[in-house]
């Protein structure tokens, strides 16, 4: 990463607005909207709780594990992702039109949103900061191999084709990672425990559990 050292990181640690000032603005706006009857504090509490506790990458991991275990489900997931997810009771806002891309030894898919922060909420939850901040969004369409190597430690063989998906419209893409070797005897639940958010964005592979490979 020495080649990038001349560029100061634009995000973490360089925010000029003090956190306290933003907190005041947020509190003022909430008070105003509550007074006007436009929002309710219980609605905010419940929405926050849903995305903090219930809707997150463990749901996507469950779908991936099912696809690894069940070929018919995998087929459905790759042709009609929403129908497959609905079978597991998964779906919702920012995932109305999802499409799952299968990583193979020959093809590696990776997802980005260069214009904003589009992301499949129902399966991955809310995106991490690195997905939303400028560095990732700027470099992933231009030099994905280098970014995967330098920023994520993922070295792809030159023979692997890289396909980058810019979520510029209403389709929300995510990745079905390759099932690691040595997981043949594992249950779906155990498999789901291996699957990371990063693997479903396409910036990592799923690692075999330690002690097996």
């Amino acid at each position: 990463m020495s080649s990038q050292a001349e560029s100061p990181p634009p995000v973490a640690g360089t925010f000029p607005q003090p956190e306290e000032d933003i907190a005041v603005r947020a509190k003022a706006l909430e008070a105003l909207l509550v007074e006007k009857g436009l929002v309710s504090t219980d609605a905010i509490d419940q929405l926050v709780s849903a995305y903090e506790n219930d809707i997150g990458p463990m749901l996507g991991a469950k779908v991936v594990a099912r696809a690894w275990a069940d070929p018919a489900f995998k087929e459905l997931l790759l042709t009609d992702s929403n129908a497959a997810c609905r079978q597991l009771g998964i779906g919702g806002m920012q995932g109305e039109h999802m499409r799952v891309l299968e990583n193979t030894p020959q093809v590696h898919h990776v997802v980005v949103c260069t214009l904003c922060s589009c992301y499949p909420w129902p399966v991955l939850g809310l995106p991490p900061n690195w997905y939303k901040y400028p560095a990732y969004r700027s470099k992933m369409t231009r030099e994905p191999r280098r970014a995967l190597r330098e920023d994520f430690g993922l070295e792809l063989d030159d023979s692997v084709e890289v396909k980058v998906w810019d979520s510029s419209a209403e389709i929300r893409y995510w990745v079905l990672p390759q099932r690691p070797a040595g997981t043949e005897g594992m249950s779906e639940q155990e498999l789901a425990g291996l699957v990371t958010r990063e693997a479903m964005i396409g910036v990592a592979e799923v690692e075999a559990p330690s002690g097996r490979s």
Binding site: V24, E30, A50
Partner: protein, 246 residues
């Protein structure tokens, strides 16, 4: 750049409502020099309580139709570019939510400034609680069910999978979902999607005007020339009017 006459709070700078800069700083594909991707180990969903409140308020106001998602995105794009690059993600949301609520007359800039001053005078005072179980249930339902922007059109798709297309080299004033790095470039239609509300008009309340959307495949060399990485293709989802036959 046009600015609002009154900034409700310091650090809350945005261009006047309506049409913002054509080629904004948000359009980041291919920009260089923005540093390393910084990842946080075990990153929490929210980093502070104000982020939680901003997230919830945004879904609540969006869900009740105070503004649409395209307007929400466009107000973020109208942020001062320096602020855009140097602010926290949910600051963008706070900016946009407030800008939209003010632009549509739901609240006024003066009210916001007055309320912020009041909060500063009495920082310990809690936000008044207001319960509205029906609203909470509606919004939770929306989060669980989603709200598609797919919309039928009488027009049949102009392009089919395999068609060679070229993106138009257009710089429309206001919101667009045609990224700068693919304008005027040749690609191949990979997939035909249903028709969706057109953000370029919907962001300005000029109608929903649904159009078909296409996944268009570009070889990296078409976008980045001889500096492109080998064996790379970029797929971008584009509304029909961004494209012409090639």
């Amino acid at each position: 750049m046009r600015r609002r006459a009154a900034e409700p709070e310091p650090g809350c700078r945005w261009a006047a409502e309506g049409v913002g800069p054509v080629d904004g700083v948000h359009d980041l594909g291919g920009v260089q020099g923005l540093g390393a991707v910084e990842r946080e180990e075990n990153e929490p969903v929210f980093h502070s309580d104000w982020e939680r409140r901003v997230f919830g308020m945004m879904l609540a106001t969006l869900g009740q139709g105070s503004y649409n998602l395209d307007e929400f995105r466009h107000a973020i794009e109208r942020m001062n570019p320096v602020d855009y690059l140097s602010s926290r993600y949910y600051e963008h949301w706070l900016h946009s939510m407030q800008a939209n609520l003010i632009a549509h007359g739901v609240i006024s800039a003066e009210e916001v400034a007055e309320k912020a001053a009041q909060v500063r005078r009495d920082p310990g005072a809690a936000v008044p609680t207001r319960a509205d179980p029906e609203l909470a249930s509606t919004l939770l339902g929306l989060a669980r069910q989603g709200a598609s922007t797919a919309m039928e059109t009488d027009a049949s798709p102009r392009f089919a999978a395999g068609d060679k297309v070229r993106t138009r080299n257009i710089h429309p004033p206001g919101h667009t979902r045609l990224p700068r790095y693919v304008r005027g470039r040749a690609g191949v239609v990979d997939h035909v999607y249903p028709s969706f509300v057109f953000p370029d008009t919907n962001a300005h309340r000029r109608g929903e005007h649904p159009q078909h959307v296409y996944s268009v495949r570009f070889p990296a060399s078409e976008l980045w020339g001889e500096d492109a990485e080998p064996g790379e293709e970029i797929y971008v989802d584009l509304w029909e009017s961004y494209l012409e036959p090639a």
